[in-house]
Symmetry: C2
Subunit: 426 residues, 2 copies
């Protein structure tokens, strides 16, 4: 290939297909490809989705080849008349289409194994432009291909079916992009993500103001996955030792500024962090849920191996169940109501007692949209965590709709368990 470029190759993604454009299918291919291009260090500029219309595909390729060095296009390689990608590429570049013999052979074999009949449509599917570099599709029929689009841009084309695209990307496209990245002298960036609970994005941003200083090649990125927030640091630096030192320095400062709201890094999930805190104390947990209907238990058991610390949950949706299953006193319900700290306390202590777990957690609140009152508006949730010694209680007013209030409550309660043994707790 040509001499090393200045800066990272620019890339663009093009999804082709009415079903994506009409919103019937989420463009998950874009997420998959973007993450991998970012890891390779390519400079991804744009995702674009257009219809099956040949004019729309052509216009997109014509525009994108002036803006990107690498275009990865997905879709439009199926067997139907709607699938026009090969025709458009051939037309644009003045090439003929030809059958890719290995793909034809593989298709024939596959069809005869399954007793399918080969239709003329199927032959459309194994065509590639003459002169293109074809990649056999190990997970499907239509081959992928690479072709020079003119102006120094190259196009990689693959089917839109995610598992076919992913296999082709890993087997054929990624190795070729890695060569490009090496030619551009790119080092993969150093990346770390901190997961934060209990603080909004604007507050985290405020606390982290100026934290990067003049650090070489450092950028900070925020993402909200309610009720969690993720802060990602990307360090692009040819001096890997300096990058490591910068990571350490920034991490130390970041932990000082954010505090125990950080529950994990990189792949660590919130339920994992709760489990880790419980395992560290060899403590088991049981939960009494009312307005969350089982969500706290569901979240905690998303993690395999949660049976090591999670005993079970009582979803006591009615007052009768609260009394009968957990021993909440009828006077407590009569005097304070089901949404009260005294009731939350009795639920938490009750579930701890009946299950014999080390910690007992409880949630009782008004998730809405109905059931609110002036004293206890929609969003009012009382929670308690009973442990060996003391029972902690909390009342919060969460905002948002029913789904959001329930999620906020489930996470808040689980966080009480996570931090029960944490002496630094706020």
């Amino acid at each position: 290939m040509s001499s090393p470029r200045r800066g990272p190759p620019r890339a663009a993604l093009l999804a082709i297909g009415d079903e994506v454009l009409r919103g019937e299918i989420l463009n998950a291919n874009a997420a998959f490809l973007s993450e991998r291009l970012f890891e390779l260090g390519l400079d991804l500029r744009e995702h674009r989705t257009v219809s099956d219309d040949p004019l729309a595909i052509r216009a997109a390729l014509v525009q994108l080849r002036t803006e990107a060095d690498v275009i990865i296009a997905t879709g439009g390689l199926g067997p139907t008349e709607d699938d026009r990608t090969v025709d458009v590429v051939c037309d644009l570049l003045g090439l003929d289409a030809e059958t890719h013999a290995p793909s034809l052979e593989a298709m024939k074999q596959r069809f005869s194994t399954h007793g399918f009949e080969l239709t003329p449509n199927n032959l459309r599917q194994v065509r590639v432009p003459v002169g293109a570099e074809a990649f056999q599709n190990a997970a499907g029929i239509a081959p992928g291909f690479r072709v020079d689009l003119g102006g120094g841009a190259q196009g990689f084309f693959c089917p839109g079916v995610p598992r076919e695209m992913e296999k082709l990307f890993v087997d054929a496209i990624r190795p070729r992009l890695a060569v490009l990245a090496a030619e551009a002298d790119l080092k993969p960036p150093l990346v770390r993500t901190w997961h934060v609970y209990g603080m909004g994005e604007s507050h985290i941003d405020h606390r982290l103001a100026g934290i990067l200083g003049q650090t070489e090649g450092a950028t900070l990125h925020f993402r909200t996955a309610f009720p969690e927030n993720h802060v990602k640091l990307v360090l692009r630096d040819h001096d890997q030792e300096r990058a490591q030192a910068n990571l350490l320095r920034i991490e130390t400062e970041l932990r000082k500024r954010i505090g125990p709201g950080i529950y994990g890094i990189d792949g660590e999930t919130f339920p994992q962090a709760v489990g880790k805190a419980l395992l560290a104390q060899e403590a088991t947990l049981s939960i009494a849920e009312s307005c969350t209907g089982g969500m706290a238990g569901e979240v905690l058991t998303q993690e395999p191996g949660s049976s090591k610390y999670f005993v079970g949950a009582y979803v006591v949706y009615t007052n009768e169940m609260k009394e009968k299953a957990l021993g909440v006193k009828s006077e407590t319900l009569a005097n304070f109501g089901a949404v009260s700290e005294p009731c939350a306390r009795e639920m938490a202590e009750g579930v701890k007692r009946v299950t014999g777990s080390a910690l007992g957690l409880s949630i009782t609140g008004v998730a809405g949209p109905d059931g609110g009152s002036p004293e206890k508006p929609v969003g009012t949730v009382c929670m308690a965590c009973a442990g060996p010694g003391t029972t902690r209680t909390a009342t919060k007013l969460f905002s948002g709709d029913r789904a959001r209030i329930r999620k906020a409550a489930a996470f808040f309660a689980l966080d009480m368990a996570r931090r029960y043994f944490d002496t630094r707790r706020r």
Copy 2:
């Protein structure tokens, strides 16, 4: 506005944000907006995603305003320095930014209710370009706005957070697009969606082959929201009476072909359908969950008013809890294991007995990734529904990862309850 256009207004979607471009967030907003623009009859040409870089946002707007009459942009309206949409629009159009007073007031009120501190960043979030038509954000802080982008194109800008965008779209953007559509003499199509449980997309597609015949302006669209499938019929016909007649005819045929897998139409949710079936029999339900950890209860209580039929759930994650709380016999566990129909039966009958509900549902299985065996591989789930008279049991082998298996199991069990009293059941 100007005189009626020829043909439908052309539209384009622009998502702004590094987190979408880098694949950290799926662009679900594009799917939501596309479906609604399609229903309005607009001619959606393109989805595009660009980074937070002001030059990239500007270049996209400059290009799209020549290609579309309506651009809906999402993202870049947050409180951080990364959020540059307002600045770019102002710069492009030569406008100043100003504070949107009602949004500032709402933010202040909201912050004081929750005891949050107002940071300077937050003030960034309530700015709009001078002269823009601002839309207050009922689900968040940053207002949306409409502005003329030049060349006859208008831009609608809203936050990237889906529930904020959706609320703004429904309240402020859709009504304005409906006016545009009416001016272009577009009739809103007749749309009906059937929600199906228990059948894959390709099976539904197969059963519905040829169902539209030569019906004027009719198209059929499929969408999977695992484990549900939605089938949407769109009828574009200037003759509204004929469209109504065609809808009735197709609906009758479709219900014949799909059967009781259809649990609802249009906005009706799966937990609503379960609740409706229970209410029709004045039956209450309790649930005993193991591998789903509380998910079945959580799903059922997504619906407000579920306390009318849902009593509560026992999440019996350990064998000891199964015995102690629900009276599962130790011999049953010893002879058949926890993942067995005998255990599921005793769990369902046990939870019905201890809660006094009319129906008792149970779920016990191997959600994985560990814990599988040759006889009971990962994905094996036993379920039971105990009712007045007979207890029904089922064993299924669900595929996919832990999250998918749990979801499949929770829905399958709830569907057993939904159809317990249905004499047409498969």
